[in-house]
């Protein structure tokens, strides 16, 4: 990927200083948490660190911040 091929949002992000990126990232992260975002890792079957133990207890699919509201017809209920 070359810089010119990136979307404008990414070009703007990269043009910031490292500290500006850190501050904005902190804000994005705070907003994410305020909306109920999870700190658990995203499931990644290609990762050697894809352990269920890393997910918070009681979370839907191991991911805190997500609740199952309705299961699809093809899914097994628990």
């Amino acid at each position: 990927m070359q810089f010119d091929d990136l979307p404008d949002e990414w070009k703007e992000w990269i043009s910031l200083t490292p500290l500006e990126r850190l501050r904005r990232s902190e804000q994005i992260f705070a907003d994410y948490l305020a909306m109920g975002g999870s700190l658990d890792p995203d499931p990644d079957p290609t990762s050697p660190f894809d352990f269920p133990e890393l997910w918070s207890a009681g979370a839907s699919h191991g991911r805190a911040g997500l609740r199952v509201l309705r299961r699809g017809a093809g899914e097994q209920g628990h």
């Binding site: 990927m1 070359q2 992000w13 990269i14 850190l22 890792p41 290609t46 352990f51 133990e53």
Partner: protein, 226 residues
């Protein structure tokens, strides 16, 4: 060294955890224990926090509970596949200081690229972006080290072709070690894309092979803790 370093460099916008590579040294482990204690960081999952286990290439995972850090995950490693030892990483680190006096010590972009050459699919687009960012920031009057880095690690056909055209003699020198540079030099873009994909798959296979005995050990440890 991981996602947070990518945020500093511009290759990511947010990371949900913090990854540290630390010096494997008794005195340093004592300092690390102290820091983890202040964060009220409890180990989660296997393996246990043990210097010998870290030295075998494992990562130890923690979750913090101190005020302001509740739920934050921290991963600690002392060595990674294909990455130099800590003293070399430290000597090449990037340090960013903020206006509050805090310093952030990051793996250099070339070292971070090596660390990101994993079996995980999500790491490879980040490598592309890190190399692209490094090229953009250093292409005006590049050092020999930068040119070498780009020729060895650029992962998109267009960027690699551009670099090869700009530095043909350097590309010819490195070509015996990265054969697809010959394809880049010849401008066969579709073939180059296919060879870049094959190179990535080969590297991912090496990482899976590296982790196979470590994963078996993790399984043994997991059963032992039940």
């Amino acid at each position: 060294m991981g996602g947070q370093a990518c945020v500093f460099y511009g290759a990511a916008q947010v990371s949900k955890d913090i990854d540290f590579v630390v010096l494997a040294d008794d005195q340093n482990f004592a300092r690390l224990q102290d820091a983890l204690g202040r964060l009220q960081a409890a180990r989660i999952a296997v393996p246990p926090f043990d210097s010998e286990i870290l030295q075998r290439g494992h990562a130890v995972h923690f979750r913090c509970a101190a005020d302001g850090t509740e739920g934050l995950r921290i991963d600690v490693m002392t060595r990674m596949r294909g990455v130099d030892d800590f003293s070399k990483l430290w000597s090449r680190r990037t340090t960013v200081a903020d206006d509050r006096g805090s310093e952030y010590h990051l793996l250099s972009i070339p070292d971070l690229v090596q660390a990101k050459k994993t079996q995980r699919a999500k790491d490879w687009p980040i490598i592309e972006l890190l190399v692209s960012i490094h090229y953009r920031e250093n292409d005006t009057s590049p050092s020999a080290e930068s040119i070498d880095f780009w020729l060895r690690e650029a992962r998109t056909a267009e960027l690699l072709s551009q670099i090869c055209k700009r530095f043909p003699s350097e590309a010819a020198t490195i070509q015996p070690q990265r054969r697809l540079l010959q394809t880049a030099l010849s401008g066969q873009m579709d073939l180059l894309r296919a060879e870049l994909d094959e190179e990535r798959r080969t590297e991912q296979a090496k990482d899976r092979e590296y982790w196979e005995p470590l994963k078996r050990e993790l399984e043994r440890l997991r059963h032992g803790e039940r």
